[in-house]
Symmetry: C4
Subunit: 173 residues, 4 copies
């Protein structure tokens, strides 16, 4: 997923330690994708049937997720270096886009119970919608933080992944 | 799927903006593959049994799809630069080949209802065949457009993907 | 699977034409793996239960298949250049190893009908074994051909894949 | 999974032979992941239901496995060269981390039979736990060996994979 690079002619141990922004960016992207996948799986269980529109929104979500390794590599390469701001803007913009598409996907499926399975109670649908609500504002705020501190912005992206892990308790059977 | 590259020593933000041909080529290939996959999935549901010939045609289709990232990378790298015509020819030729193989695949499966499941009405088979018909001519025309304008040719490839999305309404249950 | 490379500063069209050894090597590896997978799938349908030994042999087969892109890239890079013999030796050796492991896998599963499902007739097992028999000798001969002509050796590897496609008619339901 | 590299201008055959640390590192990582996957599959069969915590631990295990190609490439590149110790430390540390997460995963699922299926006897659970017990100490010891001999440490990592293959007999049906 992410290409870590070391160059010959310098002490390898030191290089590996200085790669910490890479590890942070890798773990953040991996955990975000993993948690999205866990929650996506849960949402899909509430959905009774699919149609072309849902599949196309799914495809757009996948396109964004498959694109993520590129800005992740940018952050890994540029964090704490010249150009870090542009790198983190690209990174954060991808997360904002992902959050927007993911929200559209769920709102399309759940609006007026369009594709929700009959045996799923309204309260379960509302609980998931409540969990989706803060997604776009949070990633948007994280984007703004990058104006002042790119590093803090990446750390907050990690924190949102962590936020969506326990808040998933809302989803748990 | 696609390797985006930036080089150190130049402003990263500017570089990211100038990568737009890469984003266009990436999105076009991704959406085309995604829509092929959606339609392929739908076709397979009409097919009652497989045989070796169908599996081999499937394999050829997969070979072409798995090859696509290479010409996509060429377009991303050469569009608006010297060599863009050769790059777009390679890109378009891959799409023509893919359209040909995909058509052969469907015609083999559906001809005389060879492998079509018994409960599928003739009208459904004809609807799919009608959707397949313009594929090769359209990609062939897009190839010819590259003689005059490589950029227009790539944009039209994107448009064909878009064409196959709503025309898929023909397929919808 | 295979990384095709072009370098800037030379005519792209000419370069793409001169990449033909890459296309040959790519198609050969892709089709070989595809046909192995088709036949593997058919063999597995004859097998009633798995055990650790079979799974481990499967793992070794997968290890060899996953290694194949490396010698394929070597052939793509060195064919018709200095070093082509070593590249083709590495390529052919990988195919010999794959054929050996694949044969051991099938012989382990089928010997004394060890893991064969009860409802599979002896004649079906014998037909598959007959198809496996020439595999190792053929890839071994192809290896020897590389002493005289590396290019002929690669072409013959392609031919073996083609041989295993129709001979699969023996397997067909 | 692993990128093997050769450079032009030197004899290819000699280079391929000198790549043996790469082959050792590749095979070790591949077999370790394969055997973990086989054992993981067996453990999952004992588990009756999943919850979010188990899925998150699974995600962490996957993160570590997906990270493994990086230290594997380091070992392949630096073994028998300056910097080999740092490379093997990184390699061994990843295996220690993987062993720790894998143990936590199993202990969480099996502790007090939390997620174990009802029809699985206590003796089967205890047999798996006994197989897990030496994992972390063994990989820890292998890490310490790297202080004296990085090569011996890699060879021992390979040996642990081999150890977990026959010891899997404990698991066999």
């Amino acid at each position: 997923m992410l290409e870590f690079t070391v160059s010959s002619g310098r002490d390898l141990g030191t290089q590996l330690l200085h790669l910490w922004p890479s590890y942070l960016a890798y773990a953040t992207s991996f955990l975000t994708i993993g948690i999205i996948w866990m929650n996506h799986h849960f949402c899909v269980e509430q959905i009774g049937r699919a149609n072309r529109t849902l599949m196309f929104l799914n495809l757009l979500l996948l396109l964004t997720v498959a694109f993520l390794p590129f800005p992740t590599r940018l952050v890994a390469q540029y964090l704490q270096q010249t150009g870090e701001q542009a790198a983190v803007y690209a990174y954060d913009a991808t997360f904002v886009l992902m959050a927007v598409i993911y929200n559209v996907w769920w709102r399309y499926a759940s609006g007026g119970r369009r594709l929700i399975a009959d045996n799923v109670p309204d309260s379960a649908v509302r609980a998931i919608t409540r969990a989706f609500n803060p997604g776009v504002p949070m990633y948007g705020a994280v984007f703004l933080v990058a104006v002042w501190s790119p590093l803090a912005s990446v750390a907050l992206t990690f924190a949102i992944a962590a936020f969506y892990l326990p808040s998933a308790a809302l989803f748990d059977r």
